[in-house]
Amino acid sequence: MECPYCHHREMPGALFCRHCGYPLWEEEAQDAARKAGAAAPAEGARGASRGRGGRVRLRLQHGREVALQGPGPWLIGRPSGASRPDVDAQALGAQHVSRQHARLEWRRNGLFLIDLGSTNGTWVNGARLLPHEPQRLHSGDRVRWADLEVQIFLPTPGPSSHVAQEETSA
């Protein structure tokens, strides 16, 4: 079997990828659930529910919510010249976010956040990310881009037809 994260080959029955520590058993359980026609477990289903069923929402400090539009990836940053990021930090009141600060994107196994070598850093739940190292996000994670702090909510798994949607839109 192949690790979906780093593509390292592992023997069947491996529970974690030896190369990156990715929990391979989650994939297996998910595949099994799909085969059995049951709804995938909530943890594994996030990647599947990204179709048109729900949106990623960012909750700002004052409780205001921003929903991300389109399929992504989404650039977080400050506007420069004519180009505008998907999440305009300046419009949201932040001052120290870099122009190209970070990127959010869906991958096969979930939503990932990547710091693009920003000046003032990206934090997830209080821990700073290394630049260019993708970090998988979970619903409720607190993310900070320089002085912009948000809580991230992933779409909840909807009807099982989302699995099919994901496969057609991929």
């Binding site: 029955g13 491996a14 529970l15 520590g21 359980a29 700073r128 190292e133």
Partner: protein, 510 residues
Amino acid sequence: MASNANPLESVNYYEILGVPRKASPEEIRAAYREAVRRWHPDINPAPEAHEFFLLVRQAYEVLSNPEKRKVYDQSLEQSRETQEMRGVGGPAAPAPLTRVWVSYSLVPPLGESQLWYAFWSIRAPWPAPPQPRPLDLWLLLDRSSSMRHQGKLALLKETVLETLRHLQPTDRVGMVAFDDRAEILLPLTPVQERNVFLRALGKIRLQGATEMAHALRTVDRALERHTGPTVVWILTDGRTYGDEPAALRIARQWARRGVICDAFGLGDDWNEAFLDKLTGVTGGATHYLENLTAARHLVQDYLRRYHHARVRQLAVHFRPTPGVKLHSLYRMGPEVAHLDTRSPVAMGTVGPNERWLVLAELELPPLYKVRPHTSWRVLQGSMEFIPFRGTPLSHPFLLDVRVGEGPRRVPPKVVLQAVERLTWYRLQMASRNAWRDGRIDEAREILSRLAQGVARQGLRQAAQDIRRQAMELEKEKRLNPEAEKALEFGTRMLMLPANVYESRQHRDER
């Protein structure tokens, strides 16, 4: 081995034949035939095959007879209920000595090999003694000239003093100083004579290089028969060269006699791969002595365990079915150790409220020829509990898996947690190897992945430490050796059961 009635009772007839509780008479008959083919003394020359064969017959006699089976099923139910009512170790039925969890109880009949994990929690059959056991402790103190640096000699002496402080009046201590030679500073001496110890410590003169086998041999000659635990502690900062096989040979002999050897590494240059192996074969463990605080905690934990040890030693024999490979074996508790897979495996001892936690990584051969939905024996073995006096208790165990197609279940939490922590440990080692070979970027990348995994489990402090190391590698393109050792042993500590890990972390904060 003595076939005591008690341990056998904890393996029930269904387990002996490897069939589920609801097995049909046909399944039972098929399993019986299979077992006879495997266990008949004419076929299987292993010494315990005969004993097992008798058990198989006994099991079949009961399970093949509907009436006897009904009665037996009822007794199983009852003994479980009484056990639950009276708590573990109730007089009515001996509680099982072991619990085992496996990664998957149903595995697919693949045409290729597959990995499979088993995790045992093993209880000692005897209670902890009410009074501390008299302990014979040998301290092997490294006096090679490199001990001069980084305050290592001072830390060594402080650790010895701390040890003396926590010993009981009935304990005896012997001291050996070693470099490329070894010398008895003090033969086994009752602890009360404190001044004698101080004087002996003062006699240490730094000189020469490190050669451990001499020191082990010196102790070996001076070991005495003893009613309590005999323990050897090595305090060293060095690498031993060329005499590793000799040292290991002595350690293996010690394991057979129930002598446990632990090692404490000082500074950043000691050879932990070798010390791990050396202590591992005796059922001991290796630790990094970062500073006096760390030393104090370790000394107290270890002495408490030895003073209140419930057995002298647990030795486990693993006999995998031909085709099955026992890849690696780890003790995750009470102290983490990478064990030798060669049987018998010395597991050391446990103190009050402690159990042995053992993780095995196995490779199953291609199973496509196995009849679907039958059970397949992965390994059998026996656990030998060696008491301080009296006869050893031998407890046979079996490990079966069902073969067949079916959805993958989520593996048990304990297995996931153990294997995840093992994965972290290996990632950490991989990062260090990459770093040693000059592949800095790769080392940094592995560390940051490791940090993510550790953070995912909510171990924030540990994740931040690892992240900091990754940052340091990014900026400085190097890691200072002290930080490296701290990191490695930090990751190893993550392998400990959560409660032990947290209590040690917590104490360090104070």
